[in-house]
Amino acid sequence: MVRYFSLALVLLAVWLLLSGHYDPLLISLGVASVILTTWIAARLKIVDIEGHPIHIALRTIRYFPWLFWEIVKSNVDVARRVLSPSLPVSPRVFTVQSSQRTAVGRTIYANSITLTPGTVTIDVRGSELDVHSLTSESAAEIQSGRMDARVTIFEGAD
Amino acid sequence: MYAAAGLAIMATMVLAITRTLLGPTVYDRILAVNMFGTKTVLIIAAIAFLTDRMDLLDIALAYALINFIGIIAVLKFFEYGEFSRGGRGRP
């Protein structure tokens, strides 16, 4: 039930901020559309731990700055390689084991790998991820398991 | 400032179009078109600031949505050959 209220609140905030009109008629129309959307989402049964994962909302404050910094670092590395005349890339494919327990955790891990330039998740089989990497350094970075551990903490114990 | 951003984005778009024309496989072309779409969102935002018409940002937002759904639809078409079939194992 908490999820429905939080979904309705988020939708209402988005509606108010995107419309920018605050007279009673338009706000009541907005409230009506928010209730309709929440009802449709409830009928579709997508307001669950996957569709609206509010339990990780607080921990994003710790995870995302770290992820942004990783993205900046690997961006600079990939940019240097693209611009150097000899094009020093050594593409390879490898498999990593993900230690997250839920599908949400694995999705966050796979998406974090893909967001970091130099590594792309190309296939997911259960808890095994096939990763394509541009260089052996970025492959070693993923295989060291630092990101995996971070995402497992981010996913939480519950 | 926004003119500089627009010029850089346009240069990127030209390079993406180059790959679209060269690209040996169909996936290369889809990749380049996806990149072109993302840059279109940015250039619409730059034009909004350049001409001081902030309503264009709504169009940029809608374009970002359409670009993503369009790429997924095209990929699904090339993977399954039709739009009506579901994922793995489904009829």
Binding site: L18, I71, V72, N75, A79, V82, V89, P91, A110, N111, T114, L115, T116, P117, V120, T121, I122, H132, L134 | M1, Y2, A4, A5, L7, A8, I9, A11, T12, M13, V14, L15, A16, R19, L22, G23, P24, Y27, D28, I30, L31, A32, N34, M35, T38, K39, V41, L42, A46, F49, M54, L57, L61, A64, L65, F68, I71, I72, L75, F78, E79
Partner: protein, 106 residues
Amino acid sequence: MLEPALDFLSWALILTGGVFGVIGGIGIVRLPTFFTRIHAAGMAETMCAPPILLGMMLQSGWSLVTFKLVVILVFLFLTSPTASHALAKAALHGGVSPHDEDVGRS
């Protein structure tokens, strides 16, 4: 006092975004195989759009415009890895081998 500093920061962010965008474009033309080109496109998406949009946010201050830019940024950040992964997976199932060095070379 604050105005020139904000202007300078916006310029720096927008130039960073533009430069990385062009490098991503060069990468997508220069890199040899399809799977390596995905990395260049990912670079153009993660390091080009966010700095440019952040620079614009600094210029617009606290307003609805900033919120719209935040929505665009969040949306691009959520969809770009999904699109990259869908592309890589479709190419893999469509018969482009990531192991072969010469497939897709042009």
